[in-house]
């Protein structure tokens, strides 16, 4: 197709017109640029020249004050103490290496410290930000630097603050700890807060300190200052105040936590105590623990290696990170699934001959001779296994898993703690998906007594017990208040299960502890109105049944106990786990009784609460545990003037 000359010319005319128009618009914009240039360079020149001549604007960050952490009674768990440090602004120092060596000489820094400071100073990204070159220095060093300012351009002493955990090892697994921002931390954030770029700035690393970082950190303020050629601040131009971090109050009772932690010493164990009214976690203990103060400012390998290599794993918070087979403590779930489904009445009996044949395989009861005819209550108190095998075969794994989910097992609870484990309530689907295998009937049998694939954390077991005790959907709460504002209590709605069934369950658990033939009878509480109900558990780590004392520690059974008290008006629910401790009734239940009495009395209980036979032994134990101070190596403030 050919265009006519006229059309082409018309098109070109239009193009030229529009080109001229657009060109005009561009010219106009350039005029605007020129005007702006004139305004900045001619009209405002004097002002800018003044700013530029000998003084320059420098921006300094005012680090926010980190929020402090308290227990439910206002006892301090994490606080800030002032510390002196020496900082250098690199672009003011000129030859920063020479200046750094002068400082090192003046205040006797070790070669490593000097090396590290030089390394941080060599970072080119923000030469206008102060870099900490010496931390936690004495008042003498501060004065030495102040006196020699003229010889040390860009160097100045600063008062900062550092974190201290006065309760030391008691709260390592709750409060956690802070540490310096690492390059890895920075990479993980899409757009890190400018304050994080201050070298050696401390942020939460684990547990509450890390999970509530947003609340605790606060917002940095800034000050615009004029500095002269040597970096000395001439005057402050503008100040934007930052915002301190929020103070947190935890639901934990520090005294109780201290007692429990002491009671667990020597064991690899975990204890959770929940308040049955609001779900408050009043104690969350994992033993052994460690002193978080050691980590602040960098831990030495001489302190770290023993922690890392200990087979009792002190760095792991076993209450929420450890998932264990719940063993017989799970039997309540199997029973609830069956009686809620109406498959068996609580009073109907099942015959226990000491074993059950399922699919050509023989599943034993722990008592080879059998328990005879048992109903719910007798089976629970003597911890008969066959009764639960039978129930599970009738009700099926799906209903058992669904029921345990409603009691908080197999669910990742939202807690301000690190690495919360969700445990596991297996289903047919799960096994097919995860293992590529079909569910077999033997799996159901194992699951019915909390073995096989079934896994729960001590925290989940405590939640389960609290829900059984109250019939309400108790949801754990760790943060009681933020800046004095009470945090909402979540869940707490009725579980919507038949009341008679729940009552029967509680009564059976009462028998476990208070009936002469109950597995936890020796750990009963005899004080009126404070009676405890519960369930023991001994979960197998290996398959063959051998005497515990004859196998190495890491192959012994886990000892468990869950319980609540007082029986008729539940106030606390607890879960006790002793890793490879042996029997639930002999190891876990006595710990549960001691910690529950301590919680119920709000301090050391009178000997009258214990059965007469135990009082002598308990008295010695009480004397031993009285005033065990938490392990805390807090550096003393250095000779401050």
């Amino acid at each position: 197709m050919r265009r006519s000359r006229a059309e082409t010319d018309a098109g070109h005319m239009k193009l030229s017109r529009r080109a001229a128009l657009l060109g005009g618009a561009q010219l106009l914009f350039m005029g605007g640029l020129a005007a702006r240039m004139r305004y900045l360079q001619v009209d405002q020149a004097d002002q800018f020249r003044l700013l530029a001549e000998e003084n320059r604007i420098n921006i300094r960050l005012i680090p926010p004050v980190r929020g402090e952490i308290f227990d439910r009674n206002g006892m301090q768990l994490a606080k800030n103490v002032p510390s002196y440090r020496i900082v250098m602004v690199r672009e003011d120092a000129g030859d920063f290496r020479t200046v750094m060596l002068r400082v090192a000489d003046l205040i006797n820094l070790s070669p490593e410290q000097t090396e590290r400071a030089l390394e941080e100073l060599s970072d080119n990204s923000a030469p206008f930000l102060p870099v900490t070159i010496a931390e936690d220095v004495s008042w003498d060093a501060v004065s030495a630097v102040s006196v020699n300012t003229p010889a040390l351009p860009g160097v100045s002493p600063e008062v900062g603050s550092t974190r201290v955990y006065p309760r030391g090892s008691d709260f390592a697994h709750v409060v956690g700890r802070v540490g310096r921002v690492s390059p890895k931390d920075l990479e993980a954030l899409e757009n890190p807060d400018a304050v994080l770029r201050i070298p050696r700035f401390q942020i939460g690393k684990i547990n509450v300190e890390a999970r509530e970082e947003a609340l605790l950190r606060g917002v940095a303020g800034t000050r615009q200052v004029e500095v002269n050629a040597t970096g000395r601040v001439m005057r402050e131009l503008e100040r934007r105040e930052g915002q301190s971090g929020a103070d947190l109050q935890l639901t934990i009772d520090a005294n109780l936590q201290n007692y429990v932690q002491a009671r667990l010493s020597g064991e690899s164990a975990a204890v959770v105590i929940l308040d049955c009214e609001k779900g408050d976690i009043v104690a969350n203990c994992s033993a052994p623990s460690y002193d978080p103060n050691l980590f602040i400012g960098g831990i030495l390998s001489r302190d770290y290696d023993p922690l890392l290599n200990d087979i009792y794993r002190p760095l792991v918070n076993k209450t929420v990170q450890g998932a264990y087979p719940p063993g017989s403590c799970f039997k309540m779930m199997t029973a609830m699934a069956a009686i809620e489904a109406g498959i068996i009445g609580p009073d109907e009996t099942v015959y226990c001959p000491g074993h059950l044949e399922v699919g050509g395989r023989r599943f034993h009861c722990w008592k080879r001779a059998g328990h005879g005819w048992v109903d719910l209550e007798t089976s629970l108190k003597s911890s008969c296994d066959v009764y639960y095998y039978d129930l599970a075969l009738k009700v099926g794994i799906e209903k058992i898993s669904a029921m345990s989910n409603r009691f908080g097992l197999g669910i990742k609870h939202d807690l301000a703690l690190s690495s919360v484990n969700s445990g596991l309530t297996p289903t047919k689907d799960w096994k097919l998906r995860q293992r590529g295998e079909d569910w077999v009937i033997g799996d159901t049998v194992n699951a019915s007594i909390g073995q096989g694939f079934m896994l729960a954390t001590p925290m989940q077991l405590a939640i389960m017990t609290a829900r059984l005790a109250t019939g309400r959907e108790i949801t754990p709460r760790l943060i009681k208040s933020v800046n004095g504002v009470e945090q909402p209590v979540k869940g707490n709605d009725p579980l919507d299960m038949r009341d008679s069934n729940l009552r029967k369950m509680r009564k059976s658990m009462y028998s476990v502890v208070n009936d002469r033939r109950g597995t936890a009878y020796r750990s009963r509480i005899i004080a009126d109105g404070l009676r405890m109900a519960g369930k023991t558990g001994t979960s197998q780590v290996r398959s063959a049944v051998v005497n515990n004392s004859q196998v190495p520690w890491e192959q012994r059974d886990h000892a468990l106990f869950v319980g609540f008290a007082p029986y008729d008006a539940p106030k606390y629910a607890c879960a006790v786990l002793v890793e490879h401790g042996g029997g639930g009734s002999s190891v876990a239940a006595p710990i549960a009784r001691d910690v529950m009495l301590q919680a119920l009395y709000g301090g050391e209980p009178p000997l009258e609460a214990y059965p007469t036979a135990d009082r002598g032994r308990i008295k010695t134990q009480q004397r031993r545990l009285r005033d065990v101070k938490p392990d805390a190596r807090i550096k003393k403030g250095k000779d401050q003037a």
Binding site: M1, R2, R3, R5, E7, T8, A10, G11, H12, K14, L15, S16, R18, A19, A20, L22, G23, Q26, L27, F29, M30, L33, A34, R36, M37, R38, L40, Q41, V42, Q44, A45, Q47, F48, R49, L51, A52, E53, R56, I57, I59, L61, E91, N124, S125, A126, P127, F128, L129, E190, N191, A194, R197, T222, Q224, E238, R240
Partner: protein, 379 residues
Amino acid sequence: MSYLEYTVKSVPTGLRKVLFLNWPLVLLISAVAGAGFLMLYSVAGGSYSPWAEPQMKRFALGLALMVGVGLVPIWMWRNLAGVAYGVSVILLIGVELFGEVGMGAQRWIDLGFFRLQPSEMTKITLVMFLAAYYDWLPAKKTSRPLWVLLPVLIIIVPTGLVVKQPDLGTAILLLTAGGGLMFLAGVHWAYFATVIAAGVAFVAAVFQSRGTDWQLIENYQFRRIDTFLDPGSDPLNTGYHIAQSKIALGSGGWTGRGFMQGTQSRLNFLPEKHTDFIFTTLAEEFGFVGGMSLLVLYGLIILFCIVSAIMNKDRFASLLTLGIALNFFLFFAVNMSMVMGMAPVVGVPLPLVSYGGSAMLVLMLAFGLVQSAHVHRPR
């Protein structure tokens, strides 16, 4: 096709073409680049390394590239326009899939010897393709909805890919250049009025979306807008740069502090003093006179392009020249506005002056096209 209307006879052939290059334009470009070398020499503290020397080598290569491209007949380039556009879109998709991430955005493909930035390339190929499109399209149809929709799609596809990188600055440049070309081609006023109204509505929507799940742009882009509106809100990052940039500029005064005498830009407060913020150094050392001179040089480059385009009866050549001039204008207009605190800080370099290979070579290639259009204009 329209080209065949004219006689090709008088178009120079062979190496004689060199005499018919738009030499004033070559001189202007060299003058601007020369100013760039001076500044790079100065910010390095009076040293050819690390910036001035490589920049000079690149410019020499760029000049050769420009002449080479300029000697190739313009109709060859027109026939290649579709292919060039297609390749850039494919590379943009490629960079999305395999690109290197830099500054939080996927922007380049590492070819080993050279980092290819498809978004840079697209600035030229988009204009080329649109010019070819309007050359092919009969003038009567220009404003018919269907024929307007097509170029809109041609613009939207690469723009969308660039936004995804995410590189908002380049996306805005692409959009503006594409829209400008449609305007030049004679698309009816009403379309532009509608789009501008919609644009205003979109900006409102972007701000409404902030903090919701369907947030339309990235957080860092929001923060840049915040910083623009209130530089004090982020005093350690971009706000700091803008504040210091203004002091440096302002302290230059009428005639500046003299070559290599700038104190503000010499102190290392601007990490990008040799790239995006190089204008501050120039303005500090040569003052208002120096800044204006650069602006006048830029203006003359634009002017010569416009004159060359109006004199050229070939529609493709004319549109291409104007499109490239518009692109060039957008570069320095956005950069200067940003440095003088009139626009948000988006990563746009000062053309021919800022240190950087990709941008320089692409620009010289574009001017090669302008030269080709000039040399092969119908006479």
